[in-house]
Symmetry: C2
């Protein structure tokens, strides 16, 4: 499971930073979180095909977080996409997708399904689920947690051999979670399999004023990607505009017990050094456009 | 009067080429023609302030020619613009501007005036006028000609001296077009001024299938910027999709007696060499993002 920052600016782009978008790649699938203007071109720059996107999650309707949808949908259609695309977001996403799918002379060549999510809503996909949580900002805003399904425990080859199970079909039966019969004995999966192993958890917070809901959603995240618009010199401004400072973002990660923190959505007034000087969490990564991180399994760390 | 290509791709952006937009700068003013996605960031890359834009002319409503309006308007507002902005386009521009000015949580901090133009409509500005002409494409599309007002003729210092006019205030009167009295004689402006001199003419064609209307609009243009989506290998495709080939674009310029031709809106399948191999006009420029050309006065050439 790999996460790539497509754009790391806030409000307006800069020469160096595009508008907010995070891509998550997992088993051949790609999921976007937010989609600022220029997302399609940024993905080209980073050698990523936007044709592989299966779903898009929008946190809220400030322009920098969703206006890239319009051009992205048109380009997908231009390149002949036929597969359905689902776009999730807070209330209003249906109307925005309807506008995007009919503006000017555009007629999409594929189905765009828009789904409005509310606080606590969960969507189950093949192998993972995404939970939406209302978080604090100046307009209705969702944060998203993507959690993989639990994986079966490890198969213990030594135990299987000690029990005299012949290699092959019977191993597979046990790995699939089924009992087998061997020489009059019943062997259960748990006799040869370790305990179920948790999947990975990724959390994305778009715009967010630090709040208990953001901490709750981020609990034990293997990777938390969140905004850090300001430094402490503008802590009041952050509070007023519903944003996080670098310290505020680190506080969310710390209280949530997140394993790794990736900061993004920086005001252009700050340098990398300004941001680094205020980080208060380890390990932390200062986001740059095109930066990718692999998310390891909890038991691989 | 300087023209800069902000984006020179067609349909979808590429790593090297942004979506269609042309900026014209004249006496401290900036005018955009078309506004594809990413226009605001491209302008930043080229060190051009989008805060100076006084009006925008959209040719038609294929997404690559106007979707950059949405983010551009939001960024202008974000940076505190207060001056009115006028956006011109074919029928439909009012609705699109209404959408752009109200999408998501956006409330512009300045007035956006949208004006629908039809075939032959002319808008007079301070020192120049813009004429819209319906041109051939697969959807309703306008081409635009910007023509400067005629300038007074040159003041002939030798003649003025020969007539015994003292330097100073009286020169100015004559230059302003007023008669003067000198020692019982009446001296008229035309006694010391050359013939009125034409201003410059700039023509922009967005998407266009070569047609008499495009030629008519481009007549004697000092600079014609037009699309050249395809080469001759796809001449049929150009015809079907309402576009020009490189030869087709050169044909418009030739028949119109244009002084210079700047090609843009290239399909990504072609290299600069492919395009150069088919040009059939001189002088011609193969557009690149960020390329600027000064438009000289007709009598300065």
């Amino acid at each position: 499971m790999k996460v790539t920052l497509i754009g790391t600016s806030c409000g307006v782009p800069t020469k160096e930073r595009g508008l907010p978008c995070v891509a998550l790649q997992r088993e051949g699938e790609m999921i976007l979180f937010d989609c600022g203007e220029g997302t399609q071109r940024q993905m080209m720059r980073f050698g990523m095909s936007f044709m592989k996107i299966s779903s898009i999650f929008i946190t809220h309707f400030h322009g920098d977080h969703f206006l890239g949808l319009f051009g992205l949908l048109q380009s997908m259609s231009f390149f002949g996409r036929e597969e359905q695309l689902t776009v999730f977001g807070p209330r209003g996403i249906v109307e925005i997708c309807r506008t995007a799918a009919s503006i000017g002379h555009f007629k999409p060549g594929f189905e765009i399904v828009a789904k409005e999510l509310g606080d606590g809503d969960q969507v189950q996909f093949n192998g993972y689920r995404v939970t939406a949580s209302r978080v604090d900002h100046i307009v209705p805003t969702l944060g998203y947690a993507l959690e993989e399904d639990v994986r079966p425990g490890r198969f213990d080859l030594e135990k299987a051999k000690a029990l005299g199970i012949p290699e092959g079909r019977l191993y597979k039966e046990l790995q699939m979670g089924r009992e087998i019969q061997l020489g009059g004995r019943t062997i259960r999966p748990e006799d040869v399999m370790g305990p179920p192993r948790p999947g990975r958890k990724f959390v994305y917070l778009g715009d967010v004023r630090p709040c208990p809901e953001a901490v709750e959603l981020s609990t034990n995240a293997d990777l938390l990607v969140t905004e850090a618009t300001f430094c402490e010199d503008l802590a009041e401004r952050a509070e007023e505009t519903g944003h996080s400072t670098v310290k505020g973002a680190c506080g969310i990660a710390r209280r949530a017990g997140a394993k790794r923190l990736l900061l993004t959505h920086f005001s252009p007034r700050y340098s990398r050094e300004d941001i680094l000087a205020e980080v208060d969490f380890d390990p932390v990564f200062i986001g740059e456009d095109g930066m990718s991180l692999e998310i390891p399994y909890p038991d691989q760390r």
